[in-house]
């Protein structure tokens, strides 16, 4: 198949160069969309900055609240209302709790022994009398 010399092909292509002119509205569209994109970019940057700043403030607030909360239990120990004398007064002067009821001197055994002992004490005078 006959062919053109490559140099001639290069010349032909070089001569065939053309300069397309984009449509008139294209320039306006490009500039408009570029302006819109830059505005959007600025807004998003500011939003990101504001968001990160608020997260930072929130985090610092949480840390501050935690610090205050952990230091609060130590405060009552230093107050005068929590003095050892008052604690002592309450323990000595208030034996009225049911759990702290005074036990019988010989109540170290079982419930049966207790019953036996109580009946024994009740029968005591009788036995004494029967012993007569």
């Amino acid at each position: 198949m006959p062919e053109l010399p490559l140099e001639q092909v290069e010349e032909l292509v070089e001569e065939s160069v053309f300069h397309p002119s984009p449509c008139k509205r294209h320039r306006e569209q490009v500039l408009k969309s570029a302006v819109q994109a830059t505005v959007r970019q600025k807004v998003s940057h500011r939003m990101i900055a504001a968001g990160s700043a608020s997260i930072l403030v929130l985090g610092m607030g949480i840390l501050l609240i935690r610090a205050v909360a952990t230091s609060r239990p130590a405060v009552p120990e230093n107050t005068p209302t929590a003095s050892p004398t008052s604690v002592e007064a309450t323990t000595v002067g208030a034996p009225a709790t049911p759990a702290a009821a005074p036990q019988h001197p010989g109540s170290s055994g079982s419930l049966g022994e207790e019953l036996y002992r109580s009946s024994e004490s009740a029968d005591g005078p009788v036995g004494h009398r029967s012993g007569l």
């Binding site: 092909v9 292509v13 053309f18 320039r27 490009v30 994109a37």
Partner: protein, 205 residues
């Protein structure tokens, strides 16, 4: 990506980049890019006026559709407007701009490929005037160029119309200079076969 690095290299080191001959057009693009970086989006019009025609021409090599090519150029320039410093700091802003446009064009081609199979090729690409005489030959050459695979056609466009070296073309395409050169050679051979009879016919007519 040696081609677009902004880090200065010693003068004694000969790299691929050093083979680039700075043209008047490339200097103009650099000036527009620096002005864009200084003044912001208000200076984008200058860059558009300087480059839009060439960018649309190159993008249409890939998209085969004029509208898609314009969309690719728009997306590329918007991208540049968002980060103008990148273009201003690039070693060769024109090549950088071509690469961004190429990426956008390929994205558009990927997204719209299923749709385009149903539509006719755009007749407005590379042929604005009615053909007669030499212009007819030129139009036939453009038509033959359009029939090449886009990977070969873009090498021809970058080499002949944008006057770039194979090293630069290789960097823009993400291929080696040898690959770019072989694609160029294949493309010219195909064009040669196709154009021989056509040119003879037109010249004898």
């Amino acid at each position: 990506m040696k081609f677009f690095k902004t880090k200065p290299t010693p003068d004694s080191v000969k790299t691929i980049v050093d083979t680039h001959d700075s043209s008047e057009f490339a200097d103009r693009v650099r000036f527009c890019a620096e002005r864009l970086a200084e003044q912001g989006v208000s200076a984008l019009g200058g860059l558009y006026d300087a480059t839009a025609s060439r960018l649309v021409r190159y993008a249409s090599t890939l998209t085969r559709q004029r509208d898609d090519a314009e969309d690719a150029v728009q997306a590329a320039l918007v991208r540049i407007a968002l980060r103008p410093g990148l273009l201003a700091r690039a070693r060769y802003p024109w090549a950088y701009l071509l690469k961004i446009t190429r990426n956008e064009a390929l994205n558009i081609v990927r997204r719209r490929r299923p749709m385009r199979s149903l539509t006719r090729p755009d007749a407005r690409i590379w042929s604005d005037a009615p053909p007669h005489g030499e212009e007819e030959i030129h139009q036939l050459v453009r038509l033959a160029l359009r029939k090449l695979p886009s990977t070969q056609a873009e090498v021809v466009v970058l080499k002949i119309w944008e006057e770039m070296t194979f090293a630069e073309i290789g960097e823009i395409l993400g291929q080696s200079p040898n690959t770019a050169a072989s694609r160029y050679r294949y493309a010219l051979q195909k064009l040669s076969q196709h154009l021989h009879s056509v040119v003879q016919e037109v010249r004898h007519a």
